[in-house]
Subunit: 396 residues, 2 copies
């Protein structure tokens, strides 16, 4: 795909044109001559590499459906049980809903997704099949990586480990996991299964760790031990990692130092209601950090949008960021940071894949705070959205 | 002002019409006959009483101006000093900017504002004069109550107490204050001045209390002591009250019980980056609770919108609310809750002032989460905005 985008401000710098040849960025410079190539007017907008949603759940949103009234006072386990038992009767078809969710992300400038997809003994691989159909339908529009996610726990629901094994054999790229203590009730047993599957399939790991304070720190230590013994340095991400937001600096710094040493990545969603890892602290420690929208408008709760620029806002506000330079780092976490965790080439530079989005705003920080519609979204040189509206794509 | 609004869902209930006579709600019922009255089509939208921003700063926003680049790593005192010394050179004209801020609130459905306005020895009453001009210009469009706010502190800047006295004599309705320890460095001295001014002018008090943990608890105790000795029960609000978000339940419950006993109101902004009082806990204790947008896009930081429905979102997310009924309470805090703190008649009921706004959404919770443009805003029977656009009003 060839394209010339005229008059944009790459990462907020001076105006330039971006020439795309065969789906890659061929040149970034003022006044490029390329008479054979289709032209888009960049309108002087900001240009950044595509946004990356590195932690979401494509299979569970009610986006585009009737409002789901939530009347439960529920624990984490009750929310999980409710979703598993009622998702189909509520009408959350995994293919239709993952299409809506993913296309919403496209319209808002996201070019890559890592999605956890529930694998459990109630539904087997049905949720994953729906998301795989979406991944196939949106090839060339947005890249989707699938985490086989045992949300209902492995140990307490026999048969789950075998389903995870099947999901990984069937193409899930990442081994998922959930609170080894809080949900699994067996940290040793569950982590041994997860690391065993990762070793068997040669695939990376991404574990949800909601556990707070000392419990989360304990589970994190159990994970770190296994990274060392299994030689999984650089191949594990921990999602949420709320325990790193605990107030004991000495305790959390010990964990952060070990995360850095073992090159463990952190994925944050900036959840406003709980402690979260401080992204500037992770940056200082050199820890790869990405972000995600998490579940949006699902049976767990009503919040969230399929929009990683909005997520940069949520993360920025939660982290108490005020300086423009710090807001730019929040945007980095929501774009290149996710790419560093998932491990693909990403950036607004010559030779890189032509995955990019334009933003409205005088500066990058202004764009994050305003969160206005994206003037143009490009994936591999193909225009996929313009001013928040999909181009050549239909929302089901 | 007379008006008939056809086909709305009052507070999410069954469709009805709302008849307004002489600026008050005369009747709420299906199929009202009133052939002499102008008609607005409510389009089946939700109707609520007007939103109330009970804690904002009209005199300091950069809304509608060029993006202000923030490059300071600043303490609270440094932010205050920077703003005081540079606000005029940056071009933050208190009248123009308070007009923009207030009209932004109007466009988003707010009908009442309580604004803190800086009173200090650098600018005297100049900021208040700008906001008073806005209050006069917007009479009948939005009600504005002014808190004489010694943001730069009273005790450390001699002459401030006299300026507050002048501001209260000149029409400020409420005596303000700021962190008696952290900013004033003299809790006894500053609180004695504040309570003395309240007594002299017969006016209520609204104190900013950012202090965290035990320091904030100590300052709160000092305030509570004086409420008792000055007989100010029911006449004091504490804004932010971050110390009530501290983890020691026993300690904070003691404070909450005393707040309830002395009928002290709490005003929250749901700040995502610090501990905040839990609104459901305050509700359980019977504490009047309102909310505000706080400063928006000012030299302190980039966040915030002139939109109390968005604030209900921020507060809902920060408080970890998921149930529809709990979201509705967040909306209450952003509307009637503020009215209970400020003390004016408010509600979608016959006999009440015709201050109301329509919301888009299937349910109230849906409206909060979507935060779509308000179809109609009415103040005292006058239409002030339609679909997010001002009606008969010009943004300067």
């Amino acid at each position: 795909m060839d394209l010339l985008i005229r008059n944009v401000r790459p990462m907020g710098r001076n105006p330039a044109d971006i020439l795309i040849r065969s789906g890659r960025i061929a040149r970034i410079a003022p006044a490029i001559e390329a008479p054979d190539v289709a032209v888009e007017d960049g309108g002087g907008h900001l240009a950044i590499a595509g946004l990356v949603d590195a932690h979401t759940h494509l299979d569970k949103t009610t986006w585009g459906m009737d409002w789901h009234v939530n009347d439960q006072r529920a624990t984490l386990k009750e929310r999980i049980d409710f979703e598993r038992e009622h998702r189909l009767e509520i009408g959350i078809d995994p293919h239709r809903q993952s299409m809506r969710h993913a296309l919403g992300l496209v319209a808002h400038g996201t070019t890559h997704i890592r999605s956890h997809v529930d694998i459990d003994t109630r539904h087997g691989l049905a949720m994953m099949e729906g998301v795989v159909a979406t991944r196939d339908a949106l090839r060339g529009v947005i890249d989707i990586e699938i985490v086989a996610f045992p949300q209902s726990a492995i140990i307490t629901r026999p048969g789950t480990a075998e389903l995870l094994d099947q999901a990984l054999a069937a193409g899930a790229e990442v081994v998922g996991g959930i609170d080894p203590c809080g949900m699994e009730r067996d940290p040793k047993g569950s982590l041994d299964v997860i690391f065993g599957l990762a070793e068997k399939h040669g695939k990376p790991i991404d574990i949800h760790l909601h556990e707070l304070g000392e419990l989360g720190a304990f589970s994190m230590e159990m994970i770190l031990d296994r990274i060392r013994t299994h030689g999984m340095q650089g191949k594990v991400a921990i999602s949420h990692a709320f325990c790193l937001g605990a107030p004991d600096w000495q305790r959390t710094q010990g964990l952060i130092d070990e995360l850095a040493e073992l090159d463990v990545a952190i994925l944050t969603t900036g959840t406003p209601s709980v402690p979260v890892p401080a992204i500037l602290r992770l940056k200082e420690a050199g820890i790869r950090t990405g972000a995600g929208c998490d579940g949006i408008r699902d049976t767990w709760g009503p919040w969230g949008l399929p929009d990683m620029l909005h997520r940069a806002q949520v993360i920025g506000m939660k982290n108490g960021l005020r300086r423009d330079a710090d807001l730019e780092y929040a945007l980095h976490v929501c774009s290149s940071g996710g790419a560093e965790v998932m491990g693909f080439a990403h950036g607004l530079a010559e030779g890189m894949p032509a995955d990019l989005t334009l933003l409205q705003g005088q500066t990058l920080a202004h764009a994050i705070v305003d969160c206005a519609p994206r003037p143009l979204v490009v994936k591999g040189g193909r225009v996929t959205a313009r001013m928040g509206e999909l181009v050549g794509l239909v929302m089901p």
